[in-house]
């Protein structure tokens, strides 16, 4: 690929699809940029890439990218992606979803995709609320936060996306933010290079809904808070429990090679089944 060209000329459907739908100051476009750079780093052929999403602001991403792109129904990206990957294992499947998409309506698909270890890289853009529908709470809205459906403050505890994915069997789990773009590029590339279920949580501002409802300030202020309120794993280790309070940890939490991917196991199962059948037929 011609490296001197700006990325957008190579990977974007720039003629057809712009301007995009995202609000000024939204972080989703930065995540898209990171995905492009990580894909470019992998030197994958665009014909082999399937970018699948659910419904939400984040899930609008596929339409802008010149891959095989599949914008599905709310929460189901991984179910569609599982079908496509198993049907054609040579596809490189990337799923992008919002936090509500991935953890509320699609939570069950997420844990089972991780358990199966289907070879899909999942990018969850965590903006702490339902962006597309106007800022209702999601499973990642912090306790006490205001949203249109938590006018007295969020009362439910949050889902830790990374712990959930790791606990369910993902072979690679990382978290970064749209402020830490170089780190994010690397973590996404790390996820793409795994032959199993990998997940990257990206903290991203939704200034239009979440930012405004909680008077966090404008998009710049929200970006700054991503810098101020997060620490790397190494930094976190040096902090006292009090200092760590309220900080979100960035980095790669799971990176294992002891769990074979689903389609690869399935291929072996087919070979074993064929052998059993032919043995039975001989007898």
């Amino acid at each position: 690929m011609a490296a001197h060209l700006p990325y957008e000329y190579i990977y974007l459907r720039y003629k057809k699809k712009f301007p995009h739908v995202w609000c000024p100051g939204c972080g989703i476009g930065i995540v898209m940029g990171s995905i492009i750079r990580a894909v470019d780093f992998m030197k994958w052929n665009m014909n082999d890439i399937l970018l699948v999403s659910g419904i939400g602001c984040t899930s609008r991403m596929p339409v802008y990218l010149d891959f095989n792109t599949l914008h599905t129904t709310h929460g189901r990206a991984l179910a569609f992606g599982t079908g496509a990957k198993l049907a054609n294992p040579s596809l490189k499947v990337i799923a992008v979803m919002g936090d509500g998409d991935a953890l509320a309506i699609g939570g069950n698909h997420l844990i089972h995709s991780a358990r199966r270890n289907i070879e899909i890289t999942t990018i969850v853009v965590n903006n702490n609320n339902y962006g597309m529908t106007g800022g209702q709470f999601s499973p990642t809205t912090p306790v006490g936060a205001l949203t249109t459906t938590t006018p007295y403050g969020m009362m439910e505890p949050v889902f830790d996306i990374c712990s959930l994915a790791g606990g369910a069997g993902a072979v690679y789990v990382g978290r970064s933010t749209v402020f830490h773009v170089m780190e994010l590029d690397k973590i996404i590339a790390g996820a793409l290079s795994k032959d199993g279920f990998s997940l990257v949580e990206v903290m991203s501002p939704c200034p239009t809904n979440y930012g405004r409802a909680n008077r966090i300030g404008d998009a710049v202020k929200m970006m700054e808070s991503l810098q101020e309120n997060t620490v790397t794993i190494a930094q976190a280790e040096k902090l006292s429990p009090e200092q760590r309070e309220g900080k979100i940890v960035r980095g790669v939490f799971v990176d294992r090679d002891d769990n074979e991917g689903y389609t690869s196991r399935y291929g072996k199962l087919c070979a074993k089944a064929a052998e059993e059948v032919s043995r039975r037929e001989v007898h």
């Binding site: 399937l50 699948v52 339409v63 496509a84 596809l91």
Partner: protein, 381 residues
């Protein structure tokens, strides 16, 4: 057993015939979630597909199952799922998505009695309207109803063909009686049934339009990973598949979706008629009830009472014109169904006031017997 026993005569179960019909059609991918009375379809394919290199996966629920087969179909696999009432309800989301995005899939619903969990092991035909209107929004649908083990096989094959030819989901509406009964069935000879050929675009990559306008309303479909990079969305889209709200793109899309089915009744319509023309009394029945209707007709013939039997095999799209032409001049039509009245409304809609449309309905989990039909006919004519 392994594979389709081509040319052999065997005692075969309805659900088994569905599974083997799928294999005969060249099924590449099955995703499902166990549910009575359809489970045998999944179980048989779990055994049959892996040795052939076919893909089989048990998903976490039926929403995931239907989503997976749509994804698989887009990636180049002939895909199917099988379920029953409660699972069929969950599949409505994916069914609508496949209608909108024009992705070929086959959904088998072995009907059991509802609503809700209902009578899980017992028969009904109460999903007829759900098959037609279960998913939200205006949408086309094709649904085929088998009445025998042989038809379980042949209509499954037909479903795969129609799904591909019309780029749309096709529903096989079996029922608990048909699914679980065993009948003597002679499989077609080897070579008689071919795997369904998958359409492929015949234009250069740059020219490809995923929803190209054609006279039939259906255009050849590229699959993911073969060089044609296209976008698929459940949002209303233009000919490239990109979202649109332009009225001059929305309306043609909606019209085409509908007309690609409704204008092709010549291909889709499939009825069976026995003595309809020469009888003033007609029994209207489909699926397992049709078998009782045939038996009833014989009993009545012995009593010197002549009746006709009309059966739609393709119930959606409904054979409006034929029903109007062939049944609107009758004295009495006895509409027999295992529900509280679903297709009877279609028959009523198409017949004038002079025709007496009489229901014979059963919704207690048991089939309608020939004797019940006989006494109903005697009562009303």
């Amino acid at each position: 057993m392994s594979g389709v026993p081509w040319g052999e005569t065997r005692l075969v179960q309805g659900n088994e015939a569905v599974a083997l019909g799928a294999i005969a059609s060249g099924i590449d991918f099955f995703a499902g979630y166990p549910i009575t009375p359809s489970t045998e379809v999944a179980e048989i394919l779990a055994r049959e597909l892996p040795p052939m290199g076919g893909k089989w996966i048990q998903m976490e629920d039926e929403i995931a199952s239907v989503s997976a087969i749509v994804g698989a179909s887009l990636a180049g696999a002939r895909s199917m799922t099988a379920t029953s009432g409660p699972g069929f309800s969950l599949m409505q989301e994916g069914l609508g998505y496949a209608c909108m995005t024009e992705v070929p899939i086959v959904i088998v619903n072995v009907m059991r009695a509802g609503p809700s969990t209902g009578l899980p092991t017992q028969v009904s035909q109460a999903d007829v309207m759900q098959a037609r209107w279960g998913t939200h929004g205006d949408h086309p649908v094709i649904a085929l109803v088998p009445c025998s083990v042989a038809e379980c096989f042949h209509l499954t094959v037909k479903a795969f063909h129609l799904a591909e030819a019309f780029r749309t989901p096709v529903i096989v509406l079996s029922d608990e009686i048909i699914g679980h009964m065993r009948e003597r069935f002679t499989f077609p000879a080897k070579g008689e049934v071919q795997p369904v050929p998958l359409s492929e675009p015949n234009v250069p990559v740059e020219w490809y339009e995923h929803y190209h306008h054609t006279a039939s309303g259906v255009s050849p479909m590229a699959r993911f990973g073969r060089g044609y990079r296209f976008h698929v969305t459940g949002l209303t889209h233009d000919i490239h598949g990109f979202p649109t709200r332009r009225i001059d793109e929305v309306v043609p899309k909606m019209n085409r979706l509908k007309q690609k089915i409704t204008r092709r009744l010549d291909v889709l319509e499939h009825n069976e008629e026995l003595g309809v023309q020469e009888s003033g009394v007609v029994i209207f029945a489909y699926g397992s009830v049709y078998r009782s209707a045939l038996a009833a007709r014989e009993i009545l013939a012995r009593k010197k009472k002549k009746v006709g039997v009309f059966r739609p095999v393709t119930i959606w799209p409904f054979p409006d014109k034929t029903v109007k032409k062939n049944l609107d001049n009758k004295d009495v039509i006895v509409v027999c169904e295992l529900n509280q009245g679903q297709l009877i409304h279609e028959v009523e809609r198409l017949t004038s006031d002079q025709v007496r449309v009489v229901p014979l309905q059963r919704y207690d989990g048991y089939g309608i017997t020939p004797e019940q039909i006989v006494s109903k006919v005697m009562e009303v004519s």
